[in-house]
């Protein structure tokens, strides 16, 4: 991988953020509130708190903590550092490093992860990966197996055998097993749908919006569109009890997100979520800073509609907002953006472990292989070096424990380009959290 050397990473990392680092105040019509960074705690605060906080922030983080301590708002740190590697209980199998689509922004380079010849995972590799996973999870615990690619259904035989094997083994060992798949749904058949239903898969379908938009962004290798095919094949799944989510990669071409969101909801997805394209093979499909500002405005428009509907008691399954509210209510605080390299690893077609499914074949995040086992020393190094408290400019950002530092893959390949976007989104979500909690106290449990 040579991407890192051609992207101007350093420019982004030098950016500094000024302002309080231990708390962030925000106002709503219900008063002044604050997010206390440690433990992601949300409080109503007196109106003069912001000025006192800013005054302390001038003197540095220690003074901020002193202020919080004097108010009885500082406890033991909620985040551990360094982190001990937890048990690996989730694997993502790249059962097919091949794809029948040719999306311009794909992190996997059409599924092959930059390799010359696309590969399928053989049954032996899949079986050993499943054995390895379930040997680690104690009885009574839970484990999950994700199928990604490439397009995983291009290797449906191994996908199914691995699923059955894992289900049998898990039942024998008293482990609760969950399955998930991320698919482009172009080769999904009725038989596949029945299989996914039978094993209660969480299904994520990559789809980029209305037909024209989608077909332009997610063409087949032959250059044709894939929208009609997907919609035709989704029928049995959307009619089932499965939770089928749509995942939309937002590119500069998405200029009417709310209409696109509602279009996908109308197709019958249980939830629809947006992921900004931050690190794309085709630079034209990657969002610039200015385009991220525009995206934020569009996301907020969707969030406002979400808020209006929720207050009225209507469902509006916009998953970015659902997730943000849920995490704010729970006070989710994370030292890392995701479980990659912690409880979650990717397995490549040839049986190599990596921090996650995006790092297949990438030496920066190699974590051992099936022959030699999981490299726990590498995981430990990874967790220590990726801890958000060691990252710049994260260390001094109020959103650090909500964000966790941003997707490792995107950050390592392009740097932190979306910080203002993330902060802007979280700021909006914080205020929305308070407003919804005031108007619909029953919404949060």
């Amino acid at each position: 991988m040579s991407v890192i050397s051609i992207l101007p990473v350093a420019t982004f990392q030098r950016r500094t953020f000024s302002g309080p680092t231990e708390a962030r105040c925000f106002d709503t019509e219900h008063g002044t509130h604050a997010l206390l960074v440690d433990g992601s705690r949300v409080y109503d605060v007196p109106a003069d708190f912001e000025s006192r906080l800013n005054e302390a922030a001038q003197r540095g983080p220690a003074a901020e903590r002193g202020l919080l301590a004097s108010l009885g708002l500082l406890g033991d740190p909620a985040i551990d550092a360094p982190l001990a590697p937890p048990v690996v209980n989730a694997l993502a199998l790249a059962v097919s490093e091949h794809c029948n689509l040719a999306c311009g922004y794909c992190y996997a380079d059409g599924g092959s992860f930059g390799a010359n010849a696309p590969k399928h995972m053989n049954w032996d590799v899949a079986r050993r990966a499943v054995d390895d996973l379930l040997a680690r999870v104690p009885a009574g615990g839970s484990a999950s197996l994700a199928f990604l690619g490439g397009e995983p259904l291009l290797n449906r035989d191994v996908l199914r055998r691995a699923t059955l094997h894992a289900a049998t083994l898990a039942a024998e060992r008293g482990v609760s097993m969950r399955f998930s798949i991320t698919t482009n749904a172009t080769v999904l058949n009725a038989d596949d749908a029945a299989f996914l239903v039978q094993h209660a898969f969480n299904v994520t379908v990559s789809i980029d919006g209305e037909r024209e938009l989608h077909d332009a962004l997610r063409p087949t290798r032959g250059g044709g569109g894939s929208y009609e095919r997907i919609v035709a094949r989704l029928g049995p799944l959307l009619g089932s009890d499965l939770r089928v989510s749509a995942r939309l990669t937002v590119t500069p071409r998405h200029t009417a997100l709310r209409a696109t969101l509602e279009h996908l909801m109308a197709l019958g997805f249980h939830s629809v979520g947006f992921s900004p394209s931050l690190s794309s093979r085709d630079p034209a499909l990657q969002l610039s800073t200015g385009e991220l500002d525009a995206l934020l405005a569009q996301m907020i428009e969707c969030a406002n509609e979400f808020e209006r509907r929720i207050v009225m008691g209507d469902p509006y399954p916009f998953s970015n907002m659902l997730a943000a509210l849920q995490e704010l209510h729970r006070g989710t605080h994370r030292p890392l953006p995701c479980g990659a390299g912690a409880g979650y690893l990717g397995v490549s077609a040839d049986g190599a472990y990596s921090a996650c499914h995006r790092f297949v074949g990438d030496p920066r995040a190699a974590m051992g292989d099936l022959d030699h086992g999981i490299d726990d020393a590498a995981r430990e190094r990874w967790l220590a070096s990726r801890h958000v408290d060691t990252q710049e400019p994260c260390r001094s950002c109020w959103a650090r424990y909500l964000c966790g530092g941003g997707c490792h893959h995107e950050v390592l390949n392009r740097g932190r380009v979306a910080c203002d976007f993330i902060r802007g989104w979280l700021a909006h979500a914080l205020a929305a959290y308070v407003r919804i909690a005031e108007q619909r106290p029953d919404y949060f449990r």
Binding site: L36, R41, Y43, D44, H329, G331, H333
Partner: protein
């Protein structure tokens, strides 16, 4: 944490230590110090802003090395930094003066040596903490002085350093007395978590376990029905009769299903399987809520409402109350009383056999009198319902309330008419008959349910009548369980064969033999008649006189019936028409 910071999300709420906002002093049951939930002396510990005091009581037997004159209100700390009454930016002159004193030289002076409260002055009146002879009052005494301080006006206090030579240094400070609660009644945030309880010696759980006096702590269930899980019959009781009818010890140690065995009948037998002092400190949360005599697990599902058929009109209901329900209550009360007199007294029990009999019989006698008294109460409520219906104008034209104090000993009553009234000794047949007549869903039950359904029609009847009917309807619920329990207890002696070792050999007496008892019973009915008539006419003083007379007569009747029973003679109550 200052009250101005209100936690919103879960992590913020979890970070709050100490009293939740719902902890209110007025919800406390502490009568005085140290109280049960908190030691109220600790409230006065912070009566003056910026200072923390402790109430010191002179030890009854001081050790030889103890310093003299320790008793009083001793200064424990000068704490002005986080004092909510002394915000640094306050514009109130008294706050700024006090802050300057406490954060300056006076604060330094007070941090050295043993300082005590010397006097308090408010509204020109001064209370000294020293007796006329110069000796200090005990801390408990001064604490009572402190409790008399008003919130306003400004207060001046003097502190004296006791471990200094004469003339002993003193310090005077002025400020307002603390308000111990917020305007919402919540304990002020100035009190640290644990501060109000730190001087309690004994957790309240111990009182809760052991208290047997007429005190709140003794007001907990003793025996309960187990949680109803699985299938239920209408009314909410479990379909499984074992679960439905086994009394469990509410304080039982083994709270697993295996521990759901019938509670021993006596306190001493029950004691060893109950959770003990140390355990109750740790496990009191496991004690279940009890509603309607039954433990409630995670979720309480109210029983589905009865769907009884309302009476066609008030006249039909009044007729049922006069000719069925009131007579049935009196009949049952008399049957149960007769049975109760058939039980042997402690003196009559065999000394050499049946070591558990005395306790068992005490339990049965107690249950029987409770049920009989409950029927008597119902009789009164039925009469009350009748006179209230009359007062509200529901009696048929030309008719008015007259007390109903007759029994219905002629003809079957109860469930499907299966109960034939009769004065019986409490043998196993009688127990079976009582279980049958009190069975839920029987006539007794449904008759009141019909009254409730009738009076529930709020557009037709005033609400107080409905409430009265509900009271009767819901009171009878435990009679059935009580008789089942009596039968279970007495089954132990079934193997002994007749004559049953717990029963007196009783026959119905003749009118001559029982003249005193029957006369007393007649006087009792007359007194009750008088009482009901007066109460119906709202002549409550006269009613009270009559009720007092009825009570006295009941004593006479009780003594006489007991004496007769001891001689093998039963009172023929049904002879009184």
């Amino acid at each position: 944490m200052s009250a101005e910071f209100k936690p919103r999300n879960r992590t913020a709420r979890a970070a709050v230590v100490g009293n939740p906002a719902s902890a209110r002093l007025d919800a406390s049951v502490a009568n005085c110090f140290p109280g049960l939930e908190l030691d109220v002396r600790n409230l006065e510990g912070r009566f003056f802003p910026g200072l923390l005091f402790r109430v010191v009581t002179a030890p009854a037997a001081p050790v030889a090395q103890a310093l003299p004159n320790q008793a009083g209100i001793r200064l424990a700390a000068v704490e002005w930094q986080n004092e909510t009454m002394l915000p640094e930016r306050s514009e109130l002159p008294w706050v700024q003066t006090l802050l300057a004193q406490l954060s300056g030289d006076i604060g330094n002076t007070l941090s050295d040596g043993r300082w005590y409260l010397q006097w308090i002055e408010q509204s020109g009146k001064r209370i000294s903490t020293e007796q006329p002879n110069g000796k200090p009052y005990d801390g408990e005494t001064v604490w009572r002085f402190l409790r008399s301080i008003a919130l306003e006006p400004l207060l001046t206090i003097s502190l004296v350093r006791r471990d200094a030579s004469e003339p002993r240094p003193t310090v005077q400070l002025s400020g307002y007395r603390r308000r111990y609660t917020t305007p919402a009644g919540v304990i002020a945030v100035d009190y640290e978590p644990g501060e109000l309880t730190q001087s309690l010696c004994n957790p309240w759980q111990h009182d809760f376990r052991d208290c047997a006096c007429y005190y709140w702590a003794s007001n907990h269930p003793d025996v309960v029905m187990g949680e109803a899980s699985g299938a239920t019959i209408p009314g909410g009781d479990p379909k499984d009769p074992t679960t439905a009818l086994t009394y469990l010890d509410w304080l039982r140690r083994d709270r697993s299903p295996a521990g759901a065995v019938a509670a021993p009948v006596t306190r001493s037998a029950a004691r060893e399987d109950q959770i003990d002092h140390f355990e109750i400190n740790q496990r009191w949360q496991e004690l279940e809520f009890v509603i309607g005599g039954r433990e409630i697990g995670a979720v309480y599902t109210p029983p589905s409402p009865d769907h009884a058929q309302p009476y066609a009109d008030a006249a039909e209901m009044i007729h049922a109350l006069e000719y069925e329900l009131a007579p049935m209550e009196l009949t049952l009360a008399l049957e149960y009383l007769y049975s109760m007199f058939s039980l042997k007294s402690m003196r009559e029990l065999p000394k050499d056999r049946w070591s558990t009999l005395a306790d068992d019989l005490a339990a049965v006698r107690q249950s029987l009198i409770i049920v009989a008294a409950s029927e008597m109460t119902h009789l009164r409520w039925v009469n009350q319902l009748l006179w209230e219906l009359d007062r509200a104008g529901f009696y048929p034209h030309g008719k008015h309330y007259a007390p109903v104090l007759r029994h219905s000993a002629h003809g079957p009553i109860g469930l499907k008419g299966l109960h034939t009234p009769g004065l019986r000794v409490l043998d196993y047949e009688a127990l079976d008959a009582y279980v049958r007549v009190e069975r839920p869903g029987g006539k007794l039950d449904t008759a009141y349910a019909r009254c409730v359904a009738t009076l529930e029609q709020r557009d037709r009847y005033p609400s107080h009548l409905y409430e009265l009917a509900v009271k009767i309807d819901s009171d009878g619920m435990l009679h059935y369980e009580r008789f089942r329990e009596m039968r279970r207890i007495l089954n132990t002696y079934r193997g002994a064969g007749a004559p049953w070792p717990y029963l007196r050999d009783i026959r119905l007496g003749t009118p001559d033999e029982t003249k005193v008892a029957l006369d007393a019973y007649r006087s009792l009915l007359a007194a009750l008649h008088d009482a009901y008539v007066n109460e119906a006419a709202q002549r409550f003083d006269a009613a009270q006189v009559a009720i007092a007379s009825a009570r006295k007569t009941m004593d006479v009747l009780n003594r006489e019936a007991e004496a007769l029973a001891g001689r093998g003679i039963g009172v023929p109550f049904f002879d009184v028409k």
